[in-house]
C-alpha cells in the first residue's frame, strides 16, 4: 500500500509536469505488463490467457472489469472479446473479476490533458501517453468519463484474439494440423475436415501453453457482432425482475442496517438520543459511526424506522449554510487571484471589443443530484484476516485502500465483489456509503452487514454536481460573430472528489472549463478563462461533469451572439466550425431536423453543439409555446463516436442522455438552507417524466478516428438547445437552470 501511495504522489506530480513536456522515470514500470489477477486462483486444467478470458472444462468466463451502471458496459466489453474469439452471445458467462492493476484504465488520463480532443499534435499525443502511463502506474481501474469503450476497444479485441490463437495452437498440437490451417467458429476450433473441438475441451491443453502474442486484429469488414444490432445480454433478466442488484443480495447471517449522518455534510454529530429507536420492534442496536449513527435491525424497514426515531444534535455545516451565499462566493470569484487557467486566447478579444458595442450575458447552473434510482447500499463482512464487500462501485482499487484503512487490512485482503447497479450518473464514484458500512461491520466482526440508504439519506449526501456561473462578453459585426470572451467560475469538483478518494490533483481543474474551451470552433477572437471558487458544499462528478454548466454558458452565449449578428444559428455554427468531424455532425442534425423549413407561430427550434469526452454532439430541439407552458416536441441528435459497437444500445443511451440533460435543465436543483439540501426526495427533484419526453431521433456518425464513449456526451447540448429553442419560440432568453424558475413546462 505504501508503494502505491508513493506512486500516486509521484504520478500526479508528473501529471502537471507533463504539460511542460517529457517525463524521465517509470519507463520500465509503464511498459511491463501488470500481473494477471486470474492466475491467483487458476484451477487445474483452467486456461487464463490474459486478465480477461478464463476457460475450463465446463465453460468460458469473460472478465468485464468496467462496472455496468446501466450503460451496457458488460455487454459491450464481452462483445469485443467475443468478436475476435469467435464466441456467440450465450456461449459465455461474464464476471467483473477482482480489482487489479491489470485493469488500469488506458483512457482515463487522456481527458485530463490540456489539449483539445481534436488536437493530434505530437505534444498533445505525448501528454496523453504520459498520463495514460501514470494511470497505469497507480493501477487506476475505473469506470467513468465515458472511457469504457476508448479503454476497451483495442485491448479487449486483442484479448479475444490472443485467446483464439492460443486455443488454435492447442488444437494444432493435439491434432498435428498446422495452426494456420485451423479456423474458429462459435466457441470451437474447426478442423479442415469440418470436425470441431470445443474451446472448453481444449482448455486443459491450452493452459500448458504460452499464450500466442501479437495477433493482428481483424479488419472491420470481418466483424460479426460489432456494429450489428444485438440483444444486450442483461436484457431478459432486467425485463423479468430476475437480475440481482447489490440491494437485492443476502448473505447468511447478515444484519440489516441504515445510517444517518449529518445532513450538513461533514458537520459531525454532537449528541443523540436513541432511546425511542431502541424501542422500535426489530431494531437490534444503534452504533456510532463517523459523523452519525447506524441502526442495526432485523429488516430494512425497522432500520429505517429506528433511524427516524433517533433524536440528533447535528453540528453546523463546514460551508455556507444558505444557498445565496454559495452564489455570492461564485460571483466574487472572477478575480485575478482566483484565475485557475486561461484555456483559449485566440486572436485578441480586448482589441476586438475596444470601443465596440459589447453583448454581455450571465448563465447559471445549479447544484444537481445524481439520485440514481437504486439507493446506495453495500454488504460488508469484516473478519480478522479478510474483508469482503458486495456493492457497486466505479473505483474498486481506491475502495480497497480506503476500506482497508478503516478495518486495518491490507488492500489485498479486501475482496470486492462489484455488482450491477440501478444507475449511478457518477454517484458511485463516492466512497462514503461503503466506508460507513465497513465501520459498522468492523464493530460486529464476523456478521455480514447490509446497509441501505433511505432515499432521503441518499439525497442529503448526494455530493451533487457543482454550481457554476458563466459570464460572456462578445462582439458581432458584418453579420458574423467576431469576438467571444467567456469566463466560468465554479468550485473545483475534482479537488472535492479526489480529496475523498485520497488522490491529490494539482494544477488547474479542467472540469471548470470543460464544454466551453474545447469546442472546435474557429472564432476570430476567443478567450476562455476559468476561475476557481473556494470549496463550498462537497460536490462530485455528475454525468458529463463540468460540460453541463460551462457548455450551457458557451453555447447559449454563442447563440445570443449569432442572433445579435442577425445570422442563422445553424449556418453560423457550421461556418465557424473548423473540425471536419464536428462540422459533419452539425450538418447531419440540420438535415435530420429539416432546419430551414418554416414553423407555425408559437413553435421554435434551437440548436446546440458541445464536445465532451472527445465526442462531438449536436442537438436540435423543437418546442411549442402553449397557454400552459412549453412543450418539448422533438429532438434530433447527431454525434460521432468513431465506431458504434452496439447500435441499439447506442440509440438508447443517446436518447437517455437527452432526457437526462433536458429533464434536469427543466426542473432539478439542489439548494441549501440551514446547511442542508432542501430537496429530500424525487417530489422536489424530479427530472423528466414520461409525459414530457419528446420524440428523439438519433444518428450516430463514424467519421472520427478513435472510438469514444456515449454515456455522457449527449447530456451537455440538451440544455442550451432547449433554451435556444424557447428563445426562438417566445423571444424569452433563459440563462439559468432549472428553467422552470422562469417559464412553465407541460
Amino acid at each position: 500500500m505504501e508503494r502505491l501511495r508513493r506512486y500516486s504522489r509521484r504520478a500526479f506530480l508528473v501529471s502537471s509536469a507533463a504539460v511542460a513536456g517529457g517525463v524521465a522515470f517509470g519507463v520500465y514500470a509503464v511498459n511491463s505488463p501488470p500481473d494477471n489477477p486470474l492466475l491467483a486462483d487458476r484451477g487445474e486444467g483452467e486456461a487464463v490467457f490474459n486478465p480477461w478470458v478464463r476457460i475450463d472444462g465446463s465453460g468460458i468466463t469473460l472478465i468485464t472489469p468496467h462496472i455496468d451502471l446501466g450503460q451496457g458496459a458488460i455487454h459491450a466489453q464481452a462483445v469485443l472479446i467475443a468478436e475476435e474469439m469467435d464466441l456467440e452471445i450465450g456461449q459465455f458467462a461474464t464476471s467483473f473479476g477482482q480489482p487489479s492493476k491489470a485493469y488500469w484504465n488506458t483512457a482515463m488520463g487522456a481527458e485530463g490533458v490540456p489539449f483539445m480532443a481534436t488536437d493530434q499534435s505530437f505534444a498533445a499525443e505525448s501528454a496523453r501517453a504520459v498520463l495514460g502511463g501514470l494511470t497505469k502506474l497507480i493501477g487506476l481501474q475505473g469506470t467513468g468519463g465515458s472511457t469504457t469503450m476508448p479503454d476497451s476497444f483495442d485491448k479487449l479485441r486483442k484479448a479475444g484474439a490472443t485467446a483464439r490463437e492460443t486455443l488454435k495452437l492447442a488444437a494444432a498440437e493435439r491434432t498435428g494440423i498446422p495452426r494456420e490451417e485451423l479456423k474458429t467458429q462459435a466457441g470451437a476450433v474447426l478442423l479442415p475436415d469440418g470436425s470441431r473441438i470445443a474451446y472448453t475441451d481444449l482448455a486443459a491443453d491450452a493452459a500448458m501453453l504460452d499464450p500466442v502474442q501479437d495477433v493482428p486484429l481483424r479488419d472491420p469488414s470481418a466483424w460479426r457482432l460489432i456494429g450489428k444490432p444485438m440483444k444486450r445480454i442483461d436484457i431478459v433478466a432486467k425485463s423479468t425482475g430476475t437480475l440481482a442488484y447489490g440491494i437485492d443480495l443476502e448473505k447468511p447471517g447478515m444484519v440489516h442496517a441504515t445510517v444517518r449522518t449529518n445532513p450538513r455534510q461533514g458537520g459531525g454529530l454532537q449528541g443523540f438520543d436513541d432511546s425511542e429507536a431502541r424501542a422500535v420492534p426489530g431494531v437490534r442496536d444503534v452504533l456510532e459511526i463517523t459523523g452519525g449513527i447506524a441502526v442495526l435491525a432485523d429488516n430494512t424497514w425497522a432500520a429505517f424506522k429506528g433511524a427516524g426515531a433517533v433524536k440528533y444534535d447535528w453540528g453546523p455545516a463546514p460551508y455556507p449554510a444558505e444557498q445565496a451565499n454559495h452564489w455570492q462566493a461564485l460571483e466574487a470569484s472572477f478575480t485575478d487571484d482566483l484565475l485557475d487557467s486561461t484555456w483559449r486566447d485566440d486572436g485578441d478579444v480586448e482589441a476586438a471589443m475596444e470601443g465596440a458595442e459589447v453583448v454581455t450575458a450571465e448563465y447559471r447552473s445549479p447544484y444537481v443530484a445524481h439520485a440514481p434510482l437504486e439507493p446506495l447500499n453495500a454488504i460488508v463482512l469484516v473478519e480478522d484476516d479478510l474483508v469482503e464487500i458486495w456493492a457497486g462501485h466505479q473505483l474498486p482499487r481506491q475502495l480497497q485502500i480506503l476500506v482497508g484503512a478503516i478495518t486495518g487490512h491490507d488492500p489485498e485482503q479486501v475482496i470486492f465483489h462489484n455488482q450491477f447497479t440501478g444507475g449511478s450518473f457518477g454517484h458511485r464514484l463516492e466512497f462514503e456509503f461503503i466506508k460507513q458500512t465497513a465501520e459498522i461491520a468492523n464493530q460486529v466482526r464476523g456478521t455480514p452487514v447490509k446497509m441501505t440508504y433511505t432515499r432521503e439519506e441518499d439525497f442529503a449526501h448526494d455530493f451533487p454536481r457543482h454550481i457554476a456561473i458563466g459570464r460572456g462578453r462578445g462582439f458581432v459585426a458584418d453579420g458574423k460573430v467576431q469576438a467571444m470572451d467567456l469566463s466560468v467560475a465554479a468550485p473545483s469538483v475534482l479537488a472535492s472528489q479526489m480529496q475523498r478518494a485520497g488522490i491529490p490533483v494539482p494544477g488547474p481543474d479542467i472540469q471548470i472549463a470543460a464544454g466551453a474551451w474545447n469546442n472546435p470552433y474557429h472564432l476570430p477572437n476567443y478567450r476562455m478563462r476559468s476561475y476557481r471558487a473556494a470549496e463550498l458544499a462537497p460536490v462530485s462528478s455528475w454525468r458529463s461533469v463540468g460540460s453541463v454548466g460551462a457548455g450551457f454558458a458557451f453555447d447559449s452565449f454563442l447563440d445570443e451572439l449569432i442572433h445579435a449578428a442577425g445570422a442563422d444559428p445553424m449556418e453560423e455554427r457550421i461556418r465557424l466550425m473548423e473540425h471536419d468531424v464536428s462540422r459533419k455532425v452539425l450538418e447531419a442534425v440540420a438535415e435530420m431536423s429539416d432546419w430551414g423549413s418554416p414553423l407555425p407561430p408559437g413553435k421554435g427550434r434551437g440548436v446546440a453543439f458541445v464536445e465532451s469526452f472527445a465526442a462531438p454532439v449536436a442537438e436540435v430541439v423543437e418546442v411549442s409555446a402553449t397557454e400552459r407552458g412549453i412543450r418539448i416536441d422533438k429532438v434530433w441528435v447527431a454525434c460521432d463516436v468513431g465506431t458504434i459497437v452496439d447500435p441499439v444500445n447506442f440509440e438508447n443511451l443517446v436518447q437517455g442522455g437527452v432526457v437526462f440533460g433536458l429533464g434536469h435543465a427543466i426542473n432539478a436543483q439542489i439548494t441549501y438552507a440551514d446547511g442542508m439540501a432542501e430537496q429530500t426526495n424525487y417530489h422536489a427533484h424530479e427530472g423528466m417524466r414520461l409525459y414530457q419526453c419528446p420524440e428523439i431521433f438519433v444518428r450516430g456518425l463514424e467519421n472520427g478516428e478513435q472510438v469514444r464513449g456515449i454515456g455522457e456526451p449527449p447530456v451537455p447540448p440538451a440544455a442550451p438547445a432547449l433554451a435556444n429553442a424557447i428563445f426562438a419560440a417566445t423571444g424569452q432568453r433563459i440563462r439559468e437552470m432549472p428553467f422552470d424558475k422562469h417559464i412553465d413546462f407541460i
Binding site: T240, T300, R689
Partner: protein, 154 residues
Amino acid sequence: MQATFTVNGTERQIDVPEDMPLLWVLRDELKLTGTKYGCGIAQCGACTVHLDGLAVRACQVAARELDGAEITTIEGLGTPAAPHPVQAAWIEHEVAQCGYCQSGQIMQAASFLDLNPAPTDEEIDAAMSGNLCRCGTYSRIRAAVHTAATKMGS
C-alpha cells in the same frame, strides 16, 4: 399482526407490524426482490405490484391491508422462459438501461393494458408518468407499451 394472502398464486403467511409496507414484506420477509425500493413515498413507482389485479405502489400498502389479498409481483407476471407479453415487448425493444425501474414500469403497464387494451400515446402518458426512469428510457417504454398492446390484442 398475522396475515394470510397469496403472492404469485402461492399462499403466504406473515407475522409483522401492521404498518410494515408491502414493499418490505415482499423484499425482506418473502425474499422477492424483483420489486424495488426507490423512494418509499410513491414518487418513483419502482415498487409497483398488482393487488387484486390493480397496480399499486407497494411502499404505500400497509401489511394491515393484506389479509386475503392477491398479490402479483414481477416474478409472478412472467419468467425468462415464458415472459408476459409486456415483458416480451420490453425485451424486444431493449427498453432497459440500468433496469432498476423496469419491474415497476412493466407492472404498471400490464395493469394499465388490462384496463385499456389499445391506448393512445396520450393515455400512455397519463398512466405511466408516475413511474420514474432516471436513465431516460421513456421513448422505448412508449413503443413497448404499444407493442405489448398489439401482442395482447392478437
